[in-house]
Amino acid sequence: MAGINIYHLYPEHLNLYGDRGNILALCRRAEWYGLPYTLVHVRPGEKIDFARCDLLFMGGGQDYEQRLVAGDLKRHRSELLAAIEQGMVILAVCGSYQLLGRYYTTGKGDSIPGLDILDLYTKSGHKRMIGNIVTQSRLWEPPRTLAGFENHAGRTYLGPSVKPLGKVVHGFGNNGEDKSEGAVYNNVIGTYLHGALLPKNPWLADHLLRKAVSYRRQQFLFKPLDDKIELNAHRSALRLTGSRRHKLRSSRV
């Protein structure tokens, strides 16, 4: 078993919202499963080795850091696209999720081109959408819940060739209008959920690890882990998000 290669894009720059927790969850769970892995930190200006990368994680950043990623990835867009068509796994959160789309329109009406990998676009909004969020995702059958925290001003609208990652149960989601949250295309997942997302939604972490293993054309038996604490953290997030206290609070945002 050769294991998988996890690439973390800009660990020092794209780390706004507990993104480190997502990498921690992937690595720790791989360890607990006994799945060999290598974690590679990619820094600004460095190139992703697309021949080796199985799972790419891109976190949220502020405007400037976001532009850095955009510049670096644009130079290698065709390789990135080819890898995605082959089934390379990507998790992109918040700003990076927007970046994978076609374009972003600013408040002044300027349109900033994205990487044009996911069929979606984002418009800037006046009101930031902030608060705990719960969605129900059809990545699994029966659907499973995902719990996290969202904090974004951009409103994202999906085109026909991507599917939403989840349907909003509590919170705003992609745009606060159509109840969709995130986007899925092949093995690429974009989402506004941080908080950190993967530790308390371990099935999503496992989904990414499994997809990365099959992208590497390997066989690996995932023996169930003891996820009692993960489940409790997930349930307590669901409970709090559904509570009256939280609803009152989010209506005041």
Partner: protein
């Protein structure tokens, strides 16, 4: 961001032009005082509601009250160190003979400032005291500046904190700058020279800027942690080069592309050493003098707080020897490594609210020798920050290095399960973690696990700290928080 606007709506500047006795303000003060009396009867501090009600009734009340202070007021803002800096400064000014008004409970929204002034004032609306020292939340800073028209302002640092309220760090910086721009033309500002996000701020006011910074020759890894927020030059966005990093993004930096570099500080801290009997001695350079003194506050971040207070006192004209005398007598402020004792046990309360602050508390904790007992309490109310993702950016991994001498950790608060999960992914054995959501049960459990003669560290978020203090008060430990430490 909408919330910030809402907050400043409470303080509209046009109401602040009236002078003299004003019935509306007087009624505002009475309303505030009545509510304060009522909330203290029920065991609450009355640091929020009285001010809120008074401001709602009489929006210009802050300006009205603060105008009575003969020596004006000084505001302290920034992400970390506000409470300790403001309390050190109050200590220094008291040493220098001033009568000070200070929002010591750390309630630092505009209504917290109003509550503090109303609490100190008489029913007649008269305010005793010469000078106000107010710590102010970064978001509330511009509005409070407009009302109080302070003589000076101190900005300690900008770290990642409560992004759910502020959006992004850039936004915090803009908010603080807009506050500095509103300072009266002749007032001074005191900035941390080691923080590039502060020294980048350009205000066009003529008032003087005072800088302070650390000039320690320490092994560079002593203060390092991973929670860095700023790594690129705020001017040209090139990688910022650090000759020395004290912690997070604070240090001696320069940009290799443009001319941006750390300004030369007016006040510096040049030495820190520990004596054989466990005292900490620091050496400050200020007012052309070198000042060596015993400094009782633990933790490296308290070096910056001493500097901030000493620099502001210098700007106010307090002589160096009085500054030194006051710093030597410093006591931990509210919830900042505050010590209590109970049945032979020592309790240390250390508020955590963002990765940089939490990392420094963890570092201080693991430096202690012997068995370590720990209680962590995480709430996600508005005053805590509703986004708890920062728990994943704080280095709880540090605890792994003391695993053998770490007693079972008690975890409490509304987000206790997330914290338990955090500790699991930090590498702690889940058998060594006990969950007690109720603050009272958590305190009892933690005390039961701590044998007499040993130390219990309590790391709560802001509102969790109030819950725990109430539980401690009920057990007969610690004074009610509105009376101060």
């Amino acid at each position: 961001m909408e919330k910030d606007n809402r907050r400043s709506d409470l303080l509209s500047p046009k109401d602040s032009v009236n002078t003299g006795l004003n019935l509306k303000h007087l009624s505002g003060i009475w309303i505030g005082k009545l509510i304060m009396g009522a909330s203290r009867l029920t065991g609450r501090g009355g640091t929020t509601l009285p001010g809120r009600a008074a401001l709602r009734f009489s929006p210009g009340i802050l300006a009205y009250l603060s105008r009575q202070l003969a020596q004006g007021s000084v505001l302290v803002t920034g992400t970390n160190g506000k409470t300790t800096t403001a309390s050190l400064l109050t200590g220094i000014l008291r040493q220098a003979g001033y009568q000070c008004l200070h929002n010591q409970s750390g309630s630092n929204m505009s209504w917290g400032v109003a509550s503090a002034l109303i609490g100190a004032g008489a029913w007649s609306g008269k305010l005793p005291g010469d000078i106000g020292i107010m710590e102010v939340d970064e978001g509330a800073f511009p509005a409070v500046v407009r009302e109080l028209k302070p003589r000076g302002a101190v900005v300690t640092n900008i770290y990642r904190d409560q992004l759910d309220r502020f959006g992004e760090i850039d936004h915090v910086q803009k908010t603080i700058l807009s506050g500095l721009d509103c300072l009266p033309p002749d007032s001074f500002q005191v900035l941390n020279a080691d923080d590039p996000s502060l020294t980048d701020m350009r205000s066009d006011r003529p008032g003087r800027t005072w800088y302070y910074g650390l000039e320690l020759e320490l092994p560079p890894d002593l203060f390092r942690n991973t929670a860095q927020d700023i790594k690129s030059c705020p001017h040209c966005h090139d990688q910022l080069f650090y000759e020395r990093i004290y912690f997070a993004h604070l240090g001696r930096y320069r940009c290799q592309k443009c001319n941006f570099r750390r300004p030369k500080p007016d006040v510096t801290l040049n030495k820190r050493f520990f004596t054989a009997d466990g005292r900490t001695v620091i050496e400050l350079r200020l007012q052309g003098k070198s000042l060596k003194l015993d400094y009782p506050l633990m933790g490296a971040y308290n070096l910056y707080n001493a500097l901030a207070a000493a620099t502001c006192a210098t700007a106010l004209g307090v002589p160096a020897d009085l500054i030194g005398a006051a710093l030597t007598k410093a006591a931990p402020s509210f919830g900042r490594m505050e010590r209590f004792s109970m049945d032979g046990r020592t309790l240390i309360m250390a508020l955590i609210k963002n990765p940089a602050g939490a990392n420094e508390v963890l570092r201080t904790l693991i430096e202690k020798e012997g068995k370590i007992h720990l209680l962590v309490a995480i709430n996600d109310k508005i005053a805590d920050g509703t986004d708890i993702s920062w728990l994943w950016d704080a280095d709880f991994e540090q605890l792994k290095s003391i695993r053998e001498r770490l007693a079972p950790v008690v975890v409490s608060g509304q987000r206790a399960w997330e914290m338990v999960l955090r500790l699991k992914y930090a590498g702690l054995d889940s058998a060594g973690i006990t969950l007690e959501e109720s603050p009272k049960q958590a305190i009892l459990k933690a005390l039961q696990l701590t044998p007499p003669g040993e130390i219990l560290f309590i790391m709560p978020t802001y509102t969790a700290m109030f819950d725990l203090r109430r539980a401690l008060n009920a057990l007969g430990v610690a004074k009610p928080y509105w009376e101060g430490p």
